[in-house]
């Protein structure tokens, strides 16, 4: 099964705004994507509550998995999203 191991890049972890951006993107993916941390049970990446409950902080390693047509592309774009600092996008308070 196509798999990606990613280190969470957002300063605040996979919470709040970064979690929202990630979950929204996962919901739009053409395949069912799961996310897990450590040896815990994989959970649906489009479930906000499950993603929050991972408690992933900046630097936590998470594993994305998906199967089917377009799985690799979907995983690549979600992995890029997870690795970037989604808090930084808010920009300076200028």
């Amino acid at each position: 099964m196509p798999t990606r191991t990613v280190t969470v890049g957002s300063t605040s972890g996979l919470h709040a705004r970064p979690a929202k951006i990630f979950v929204e993107a996962a919901a739009k993916a053409p395949v069912k994507v799961t996310i897990r941390s450590g040896d815990r049970k994989p959970v649906p990446a489009k479930s906000m509550l499950s993603v929050l409950a991972l408690g992933a902080k900046q630097g936590t390693e998470v594993i994305l998995e998906a199967e089917g047509e377009g799985a690799d592309e979907a995983l690549d774009s979600l992995a890029t999203l997870l690795a970037s600092d989604l808090d930084a996008e808010e920009g300076s308070h200028a």
Binding site: T11, S12, G13, H15, A16, R17, K20, V23, V43, P44, K46, S47, M48, L49, S50, L52, A53, G55, Q58, S92, H93, A94
Partner: protein, 546 residues
């Protein structure tokens, strides 16, 4: 019970039907499930209604932060894993309400175990659960009613979560059973300019829909009113408001003694409201906003940009900027302050600089750079100063950063007692009455049952303010008040009489304070101040000097 009495915390008169904030529903006794599919459908419909309601409120909210909060809550309720959990519990024999409760409980446990940010989100989960249960029971969803017409909102107390999207078109006054002059209700009322009465026993016994007349100046809530009384009271109040809004220009007493009227702001977003109220400058620029929810301290460039925005908007006017006031009720993740036995008496405000001097140095350098780029008259002050040594070190740091004016806040009785000595090393004092009350009376600001101790009319508090005022007069240096007390139009002349030279408040409170000062001479103010300090208690002080 025709008349109830509480503490008036925001002047103004309003009348309308009283509606209570809807209470959290209790889980009903479990019922046996005969048709699991129908029960799952009932539970899912309830969750869908909760989501739809949150989305509607998000669409309606004017503030983008509020919209984001509501949409995030909607996403948490619209969750496939949650729905699966509900289905499993129904199939195990639980009715819809208990299945929803159990499905949320699983996440609640995970959130609590994770701690930190997620532990704080537990309240959101409970709120969503309560909303869904209310829908199932056919009760109004907990929270502020939205009947589509103006009404007086009554509650035991109001929390920020209750009032995030409070609609001022519908809510015309606030009355709470507990709370005090510095509670969230009071602060919110002043920000929105709503008449408000707190610590009003009996208000929750008034039946929903009863017409009430609320006087936010006297603290009276009348329940026996007829149309004519309401009309007369509102007209009288409108005249006062019209007189207040007709006055502009610098603050002064009837005989022309100048009292600077300044605004409290948190960012450049608040500056238009300050301008609209003809504020003469900013008396309290809170810098915490920039630091909240941050894992790391904001960098020099980001700080310069945020300060510059406010300084530029206030070019030519005074801006009193307060250095980071962290700790106690405003813990900041990057300072790692967890584990203090009593945070209110812990390392907060300027005390943070004992352990992390570089945070203060970075902030002062950013303030200096932002000042150099703009034309504002920038004064810098430190929160939570207790000794002359702390003030001396702070003033040196401010001057080393190239900033001309350094001051300290008076929030601790020790500092008020040493006001004269403090003024030998700093250029001005600013009294934070909320904290000064809390520390003088050993009464937590959030402790409802002690609200009477936190009344700004307490003679002991006024006496400490008077010490600062006298020291200011003797040294010829400014002494301001920037706590909630500054926003009370009846108290303003008393503060001026005690020697206070500037009052800083929410912009909405400014016109009424300006009008109140214009009716008194400086001599009146001194006389009222002496009466208030000599009074036996806050009620007598109000009666004699209000």
């Amino acid at each position: 019970m025709p008349e109830l009495i509480g503490i008036g915390v925001c002047a103004g008169v309003a009348a309308g039907p009283l509606l209570r904030i809807a209470e959290v529903p209790a889980l009903p006794a479990p019922t046996p499930v005969t048709d699991p599919e129908a029960e799952v459908a009932r539970a899912e419909a309830a969750l869908a209604e909760v989501v739809a309601d949150l989305e509607r409120r998000a669409d309606r909210a004017a503030d983008s932060t509020v919209t984001d909060v509501l949409r995030a809550e909607a996403m948490m309720a619209d969750d496939e894993t949650l729905r699966e959990g509900v289905r499993e519990h129904v199939e195990a024999g639980h009715d819809a309400a208990h299945a929803i409760d159990a499905a949320f409980a699983a996440f609640r446990e995970a959130f609590e175990a994770a701690g930190g940010y997620l532990a704080e989100r537990v309240a959101d989960l409970d709120d969503l659960r309560n909303r869904a249960v209310a829908v199932l029971l056919g009760l109004p969803m907990p929270g502020v009613p939205s009947p589509g017409h103006p009404y007086v909102l009554a509650a035991r107390d109001l929390a920020p979560a209750d009032t995030a999207d409070l609609d001022p078109e519908q809510v015309i006054a606030l009355v709470t059973e507990i709370g005090g002059p510095t509670s969230h209700t009071a602060i919110l009322a002043r920000a929105l300019g709503l008449p408000a009465v707190v610590a009003c026993p009996g208000v929750l016994a008034v039946p929903d829909g009863t017409p009430v007349l609320v006087d936010g100046a006297t603290g009276q809530v009348r329940t026996d009113v007829d149309e004519a009384t309401i009309k007369a009271a509102i007209e009288a109040s409108a005249q006062v408001t019209a007189a207040a809004s007709g006055l502009t220009g610098p603050g002064r007493t009837a005989d022309g003694y100048a009292v600077k009227l300044l605004a409290n702001v948190g960012s450049a977003k608040n500056v238009p409201a300050a301008d609209e109220a003809h504020a003469e400058g900013v008396g309290l620029f809170r810098t915490e906003l920039l630091f909240l929810d941050r894992a790391q301290e904001p960098g020099h460039g980001e700080q310069v940009a945020a300060y510059r925005d406010v300084f530029r908007a206030m070019a030519g006017r005074r801006v009193v900027i307060r250095t980071l006031d962290a700790g106690a009720d405003k813990p900041l993740p990057f300072l790692n302050q967890e584990g203090e036995p009593n945070p209110a008496l812990g390392v907060r405000g300027l005390r943070v600089a004992r352990q992390r001097p570089e945070v203060l140095a970075t902030q002062l350098a950013a303030i200096a750079e932002a000042r150099a780029e703009t034309g504002a008259d920038v004064w810098v002050m430190a929160p939570m100063v207790s000794t002359v040594a702390e003030a001396t070190a702070f003033a040196a740091a401010v001057h080393d950063a190239g900033l001309p004016r350094a001051g300290v806040m008076i929030e601790v009785p020790a500092a008020a007692l040493r006001a004269a000595e403090l003024l030998k090393v700093v250029d001005f004092l600013s009294i934070g009455t909320n904290d000064l009350s809390q520390y003088t009376f050993a009464a937590d600001r959030m402790c409802g049952p002690l609200a009477d101790l936190l009344d700004p009319w307490q003679p002991a508090l006024l006496q400490l303010i008077g010490l600062c005022g006298e020291a200011g007069r003797a040294a010829g240096k400014p002494v301001g008040v920037c706590g909630e007390a500054a926003a009370d139009p009846l108290l303003a002349p008393v503060l001026v009489g005690l020697g206070v030279t500037s009052l800083s408040m929410s912009p909405r409170a400014l016109p009424a304070v300006r009008a109140a000062l214009a009716t008194r001479t400086e001599e009146d103010c001194r006389r009222l101040a002496a009466l208030a300090v000599a009074a036996a208690g806050p009620a007598e002080a109000r009666k004699l000097a209000g």
